[in-house]
């Protein structure tokens, strides 16, 4: 039986994935199924003058054609988070229609849908829908959107502003401290817009059952229950209990599959209209155009230091794009998931962040792996390294000087930040020390000096990161504007034979829950992992849940399961005590059996399970069965942290950056499966490197996306990367039973500034102080020329 926790158990799900036998939504083919195709706007901003569907309706294989006139989802898609203005004014919330009626607000916005017998016929017929547009000027940059006379996205909000928000200390106080600071470092840059690029495009099938007046929606989502709630209650106004949402295997999300999309509601609506199943699967072009994007901040930052290098104040102003509409969590991303991390790992006494969130003529922006925290880490870590180097200090040394002292959250209280949240536990210096040792920091500086003499441009970048995840205590997020609770549900059903089915409201789309969750469940119950099955992604099997994002699955979802396991063991002990003719207090549970302390009298988990379901010889008054469900609402966020180091060589002639080494030391609390954590770190680090060096969504003047395919949007590939060297420290989370913190986003949060700091370090002696991301060869070369 042994202990599974801490072992790199191979992932159970990989057998089916590696054989191409995963069950993705697009793999599902229902009898009598129809296919949906979209007529999408080629313009970013336009008036829709007319839509003529007559030719399409007559086309081969066409079942139906619908436009906004047909009354689908009259309320539009809702936003799940309300962030008000700093002056108390309510967030401005435009309606997000399922199909555009009069006005187009981003390229790709759908105007009509065609339902046909095959996908190809639906596509053919969609080309026959004649739409007359009047193109209007567009604005895609959030700062530009705030200028007087900028094209309006929504006529009712003439200044294009969704909200103007701030967090932290009094602005005047922060400004005064910057005035008096020994040194102030400044940065102005764009944290560029990224496309999420999940390998599986979004796919939906709705199947309306006329006889039962019920729907089944198969969907590639990260959170089936939340989709059901939003779609039923807010978009379509259909009873929630009449819709089953199923999300089997999902090929990556990175945030982009959290949100409730218009296409999801449309297939559901159409399925009842035509009383047949309807499928839609995005192609890669649609994924680029329609999946919610990430980042897109225009940033201006100042950080002040005293003579010794202590940070005395930090002031940042940002314009953060919402896109054309407010996506599900969009307002929270550049605010409560961003500003609340401005403390970083440092004792900064004065912090102020102001965020202006404009609408732009672009697809909505929402959470993308890290969601607000990578943007916070990037600007803080760039400022700290830049400030240190300007002051002639070592960038590692200045971090040690500013780190918050260790606190475990048990013997020492949590750390109260200047930006609302309280960190749970932290011990920051050892993570950086370990990473510096691993990379050979002291020797590197000699190597760098030597290399420079030979005309080689070597640089090392440091990033020490923290993030708030394990989302989230419901009361806290409720106070911050969330329109949902963020607890989780864990249901443990012990079968009569002692086999265990675990139902979780979290959702795996690559994270390996079927393995990691089974590891701790098996350990807690002292039974073989093979006896434990993890089930997710079906609203008819799992009671409720909030899905997976914000690195919450294990810390929140796992804790809910632990609560149910405790209930199972508590009831099991009563049954065991009865069978062993002992009192519960005299029993101990270990190795899958209850034993009367100090004797060899024992009863196994399996025997107790069978007794619970065949209750012939059974404690009086105790219900039969061994089946418990629990809701777990975390006491706090969790705060993993770590250090990422990069070594780069810059090609003098071309500006091309060669990433030579990447070393991490992350502290994600207790680790259930080191291999899975490593995999999560690897994936996240690579996405962060992608932002630093390669990825960028670019729009032209008219709002066309000119990076809408892999010919123009550069994703990181294996040959762009070194081996990623991962290390860990362990500082358990004090407030959840597993002591875990979350690892899903860590890599993407820590890695980006390490790479950029390394490139700037390599070119510092040439006078380079900052380079706009992504650090393409062209940008690096141009920076070297100045």
């Amino acid at each position: 039986m042994g202990s599974y926790i801490g072992k790199s158990v191979k992932r159970r799900e990989d057998a089916r994935f590696l054989k191409g036998e995963g069950k993705y939504t697009d793999d599902i083919k229902l009898p009598n199924m129809t296919h949906m195709a979209f007529v999408r706007s080629p313009y970013a901003s336009a008036n829709v003058l007319s839509v003529d569907t007559s030719e399409a309706e007559k086309a081969e294989g066409v079942v139906a054609v619908f436009t906004a006139e047909d009354g689908c989802g009259q309320y539009g898609v809702p936003c799940g988070w309300q962030v008000n203005f700093k002056n108390g004014e309510t967030m401005r919330e435009p309606q997000h229609p399922l199909l555009a009626k009069d006005k187009i607000r981003h390229v790709g916005e759908p105007v009509a849908i065609v339902i046909a017998e095959t996908q190809a016929l639906a596509r053919d017929a969609a080309e026959l829908v004649a739409v007359e547009y009047e193109e209007l000027p567009a604005v895609t940059n959030p700062k530009e959107a705030m200028k007087d006379g900028a094209p309006k996205v929504h006529d009712q909000f003439p200044d294009n502003m969704a909200f103007d928000w701030c967090i932290g200390n009094d602005r005047a106080e922060v400004e005064a401290a910057l005035e008096k600071a020994h040194h102030v470092t400044e940065l102005e840059f764009i944290n560029q817009r990224l496309a999420p690029n999940a390998i599986e495009p979004r796919s939906y099938i709705a199947d309306y059952d006329v006889n039962g007046d019920k729907w089944t929606l198969y969907t590639s989502t990260q959170n089936p229950h939340l989709i059901r709630l939003l779609m039923c209650a807010f978009v379509l106004g259909i009873p929630e209990h009449k819709v089953r949402v199923v999300s089997y295997d999902v090929g990556g999300g990175f945030g982009s599959k959290i949100y409730h999309y218009t296409e999801e509601a449309l297939v559901t609506w159409v399925s009842r209209e035509i009383a047949r199943p309807v499928k839609w699967t995005a192609d890669r072009s649609e994924a680029f155009l329609m999946d919610a994007h990430g980042r897109d901040h225009v940033v201006k930052s100042k950080m002040g230091f005293d003579k010794e290098g202590h940070i005395v104040a930090h002031l940042t102003d940002e314009y953060c794009s919402m896109g054309a509409y407010l996506s599900t969590f969009a307002p929270a991303i550049p605010t409560y998931l961003h500003g609340t991390l401005f403390q970083g790992l440092y004792k900064t006494p004065l912090i102020h962040l102001n965020v202006v969130a404009p609408f732009t003529h672009t697809v909505p922006v929402d959470a993308y792996r890290g969601a607000g925290r990578p943007e916070a880490t990037y600007l803080i870590e760039r400022l700290v390294s830049k400030g240190a180097k300007e002051m002639g200090m070592d960038p590692a040394e200045i971090r040690f000087k500013n780190f918050i002292e260790p606190f475990d959250g048990v013997n020492q209280p949590g750390y109260q930040t200047q930006v609302a949240l309280q960190y749970d536990s932290g011990n920051y210096a050892p993570a950086l020390e370990k990473a510096l040792d691993a990379i050979g920091y002291k020797d590197f500086r000699k190597e760098q000096a030597e290399a420079r003499k030979n005309g080689k441009l070597l640089g090392l970048g440091i990033s020490t990161w923290i993030e708030g995840c394990g989302i989230a205590p419901s009361a806290v997020v409720g106070a911050l504007g969330a329109r949902a609770g963020l607890y989780e549900v864990g249901h443990v059903r012990v079968q009569p034979t002692g086999k265990v089915s675990v139902y979780t409201g979290t959702h795996s789309h690559g994270q390996g829950h079927e393995t990691a969750f089974a590891q701790f469940v098996a350990d807690r119950l002292g039974i073989p992992m093979d006896d434990v099955e993890i089930i997710h992604g079906d609203t008819e099997q799992v009671a409720f849940g909030m899905g997976t994002y914000g690195s919450r699955s294990l810390s929140v979802g796992g804790s809910a399961i632990v609560k149910s396991i405790e209930k199972v063991l508590e009831k099991g002990a009563k049954i065991a005590a009865h069978k062993l003719e002992a009192s519960v207090e005299d029993l101990e549970y270990a190795g899958g059996k209850w034993t009367v302390k100090g004797t060899d009298k024992s009863i196994s988990f399996g025997d107790v399970s069978l007794t619970a379901y065949v209750p012939h010889d059974y404690p009086q008054g105790l219900e039969p069965g061994l089946d418990f469900s629990s809701f777990y609402d975390p006491a706090n966020f969790t705060f993993p942290f770590g250090a990422h180091l990069a070594i780069v060589e810059v090609d003098q002639d071309t500006g091309k950056v060669d990433l030579k080494r990447f070393v991490t030391c992350d502290d994600v609390g207790n680790i259930i499966n080191p291999m899975i954590v490593d995999g999560q770190i690897h994936g996240g680090v690579v996405q962060g490197i992608g932002q630093a060096l390669l990825e960028e969504v670019v729009f032209d003047e008219s709002g066309q996306m000119i990076t809408g395919s892999y010919m123009d949007y550069a994703m990181p590939r294996a040959d762009d990367l070194p081996m990623i060297e991962t290390h860990n420290t362990v500082t358990p989370c004090p407030h959840n039973p597993l002591g875990v913190k979350g690892a899903g986003e860590a890599g993407a949060i820590g890695s980006t500034p390490a790479v950029v700091n390394a490139v700037v370090d390599a070119l510092w002696h040439l006078g380079v102080r900052d380079i706009q991301m992504p650090l393409t060869p062209q940008r690096v070369w141009k920076a070297m020329q100045q």
Partner: protein, 265 residues
């Protein structure tokens, strides 16, 4: 990403192919490896009503030695070219060039004839075809002719091919001293700049792709070549340099000089 409806005919001889081209005219497209045409069709940027698949024509996928020449059939894949001992020994620059194209899947399907006929301004082969002074053999209903490399490339996706002509082979002189240097576009892995240099006793021939809307022979470099790499500074003399968000004309011009220098070294 579903193409519009089209018919498909796989031919077994070049005569059959040119007859069909003659019959269908602009409605027809020649399908070789399909690595440019099929994506364009999936995006419905190209909607031919009939595809004439020439990949099965006998003899068109062979690499042969003929006197001082290496004759590469138009249907040879990039993989075939980069792996051919004959090419590696007698025309190594072409093997080098083929090896930089796309990825394994692309190299397994894409063909030299298809690439040249498509004439993407950032494709790799044109630089080498130009530097080698290769000859492109084409056939139509009216017979066959040979087009010199320098006359072949005429603009973005534009060549000297008549509408009814199909490339059947490319004839390369054997090259002892050749070098292809490429700076990759990070997304597509096409050439931001690709430079092919062929040296012989008489001097140097330099073909450049990716820099202008038409691949070109860098005659100014060839003229200034003195055995050193100094001539590289003339890489874009008289050339209208392209600009995009990966490389504006200033940076691209700089890269052209860097890559010519590398290729000359």
């Amino acid at each position: 990403m579903i193409p519009a409806k089209f018919d498909y005919i796989k031919v077994s001889s070049i005569n059959e192919a040119v007859d069909l081209v003659d019959k269908h005219g602009f409605d027809a497209k020649i399908l070789a490896g399909g690595h440019s045409l099929i994506p364009a069709m999936k995006l419905r940027l190209n909607t031919p009503s009939i595809l004439i698949d020439i990949s099965g024509i006998e003899g068109m996928n062979e690499i042969k030695e003929s006197g001082d020449e290496i004759i590469v059939g138009a249907n040879c894949t990039h993989k075939q070219i980069m792996s051919s001992d004959l090419v590696k020994n007698q025309l190594n620059i072409l093997a080098q060039t083929a090896a930089t194209i796309g990825d394994v899947q692309v190299r397994n399907r894409g063909t030299i004839g298809g690439s040249l006929a498509h004439s993407d301004p950032s494709a790799d082969y044109p630089a080498t075809v130009l530097a080698c002074d290769a000859k492109i053999e084409v056939t139509s209903k009216n017979g066959s002719r040979t087009i010199d490399a320098e006359d072949f490339f005429q603009g973005i996706f534009t060549t000297a091919l008549e509408d009814d002509e199909i490339i059947t082979a490319v004839r390369f002189p054997k090259v002892k001293d050749g070098n292809y240097q490429k700076f990759y576009q990070s997304a597509s892995r096409f050439a931001v700049v690709g430079v092919a240099v062929v040296k012989d006793g008489n001097g140097v021939k330099v073909g450049i792709t990716g820099v202008a809307d038409t691949p070109y022979r860098a005659k100014a470099v060839e003229k200034a070549y003195d055995g050193s790499t100094d001539a590289a500074t003339h890489a874009v003399d008289g050339v209208d340099v392209m600009s995009d968000h990966f490389a504006d004309s200033e940076y691209r011009a700089h890269l052209a000089k860097v890559m010519v220098k590398k290729a000359l070294a």
